[in-house]
Amino acid sequence: MTSFSNALQHYARLFYRYLRLSIVENLQFPLDFLMSFVDLLFQTGELALFWWSLFKLGIIVGKWSGDELLLFLTISIFSDVISRFARGFRDLEFHLLDGSFDQFLVRPLHPIMGYILSQTNFFGGLLSLILASSSLIYLLASGRVVLHHALIGFAVMIIGTCAFQLLYGLVSLLAFWFGKIYMAREILFSFADAKKYPLDVFPKTILGFFTYVVPLSLMITIPTKILLGTYQNPIRYFILALGLFVIFIVIFKVVLQHALRRYESTGS
């Protein structure tokens, strides 16, 4: 228990350290600082524009009202904050191919944790978090939505997003065997494109696929519906998200063990 709490403290300190490094680095370049914020607004604007356009056209998206879709959009930004930690997986194959992954194997850290932390854009995450929180505060303060089961809703969003990102991580680990896995990742991303839509408008079979196999619905759609009070018994989604998360983490751990034995540290 003590060693677990020590490890937790260690990673919390590192989290703070990387956050600080990211902020200091962004402050070195004032234009980047400004642009990061503008970039985030544009990215969020894309989704907002999509829904705004549909409403202007009089298109109704399932049973979703405008305010509910705004909450959906807000939750998607929160989910994106967590997803940012997994973005390092994108370049894992390059670090494996040129051997620069070595440096994460010679430090007293879990190699994947060390790698992920070093690759995360904490500053961008912080901006996203500020934007998502502001949007949520606005929605609540203006009375446009009332939150139900907030704790469970946010827990499902966090765990569901982590579960999906673990799946992404699992696909990325294939790089230890196959070197370049760009296409496998692209295929997963093509599925992930669906997360921008409320997935309950999809046919049941597809929704099932996006809940139990590629858990996209647990990232935004189901958490938003929990927060809107749609479900009588939201705890079952929490258990489902947790179950999938545990399954993915066990698989990830086993695959990683084998993967590290395959590592050939080429490039030097």
Binding site: H10, R13, L14, R17, Y18, R20, L21, V24, E25, Q28, F29, S100, D102, Q103, L105, V106, R107, P108, L109, H110, G114, R261, Y263, E264, S265, S268
Partner: protein, 303 residues
């Protein structure tokens, strides 16, 4: 007690249908405070050797023990006790002051605050980097950058320091400075230093032992004293090239030639006979007999 032991270690890589032997039946030991120079041509197996020590790679056969642990099985435990620096790969944050990278390493290695302050003062003074810690890494010269790399590698006082081509690209002054720091670490802190390098001067100036690897095999493992003996058994003869100097390229023991001189490396015992042979060829040759350098001895092993 040795800090590192390798018994009959081999490492094979599979490349498509064929197997490449990167290291073959290697035996090796290293003691605390020893500085060991690992030399060999490109592709000899030096990096594989270093990566096996760190636990990055798993040996195909044989046993490795580093500080009593099997590296590939106990990599996490080992990392706290070793310091690894890859000369061509930076672990510093490029755009921000170097001190931020130093703090990061403090948190990664969980160094106690008081100890950290002490060591930072001590090492930044020795490495002469106190004044540049607030400078962004991108604004530093290569020499300054390498010194900061070394600082973040030794802050947790590793028992073993593994340096892969650390002096690559450094000028003479920076190299000398860097070497003296390594010697101090080995002598004062009893750190075992493993140094892979292509710079023979690194080895000649600071290493207690030289290990030469080629084609994955250990061809030479010799202490400085043994080496001195080897050097004393060899001689270097240099013949100055004038307009009227005969062509000596057909002579035995020829190592190098350029427009200014011919260089011959030969056993000491053959020296007199060879000199007579040269004089017989042309009596007014300008000949210099020199003490061999390390690279003169290692040359044959590199072939």
């Amino acid at each position: 007690m040795p800090t590192i032991t390798l018994n009959d270690v081999s490492k094979n890589y599979k490349q498509k249908s064929k197997t490449v032997e990167a290291l073959v039946n290697l035996d090796f030991t290293a003691d605390p405070g020893e500085i060991i120079g690992l030399v060999g041509p490109n592709g000899a197996g030096k990096s594989t050797f270093v990566k096996l020590l760190c636990g990055i790679l798993t040996p195909t056969f044989g046993k490795i023990s580093v500080l009593g642990w099997q590296p590939d099985r106990n990599r996490h435990l080992l990392t706290q006790n070793i310091g690894v620096m890859f000369g061509n790969r930076s672990s510093l944050w490029f755009n921000i002051p170097a001190i931020e990278s130093v703090y990061l390493m403090r948190d990664i290695y969980q160094i106690d605050q008081t100890l950290f302050k002490e060591r930072l003062n001590k090492y930044s003074h020795i490495l002469e980097v106190s004044d540049i810690l607030q400078k962004p890494v991108r604004e530093m010269s290569l020499g300054q950058r390498i010194r900061i790399e070394l600082l973040v590698t030794i802050l947790h006082q590793p028992k073993i320091l593994i340096l892969d081509e650390p002096t690559l690209g450094l000028d003479i002054v920076s190299k000398n400075h860097f070497r003296s720091i390594l010697v101090e670490l080995a002598r004062v802190e009893q750190t075992t230093v493993i140094l892979t390098t292509h710079d023979i001067q690194d080895v000649a100036k600071i290493c207690d032992r030289i290990v030469l690897i080629n084609h994955g095999k250990k061809l030479l493992d010799s202490t400085k004293t043994d080496f001195q003996a080897m050097i004393s058994q060899q001689a270097v003869i240099q013949v100055r090239r004038e307009e009227n100097t005969s062509d000596l390229t057909a002579q035995p023991f020829l190592r190098e030639e350029n427009p200014e001189w011919y260089k011959f490396v030969l056993p000491n015992a053959s020296k007199t006979e060879f000199l007579t042979q040269l004089m017989a060829c042309q009596s007014d040759l300008q000949i210099q007999v020199l003490r061999p350098e390390l690279e003169d001895i290692l040359y044959d092993f590199f072939q």
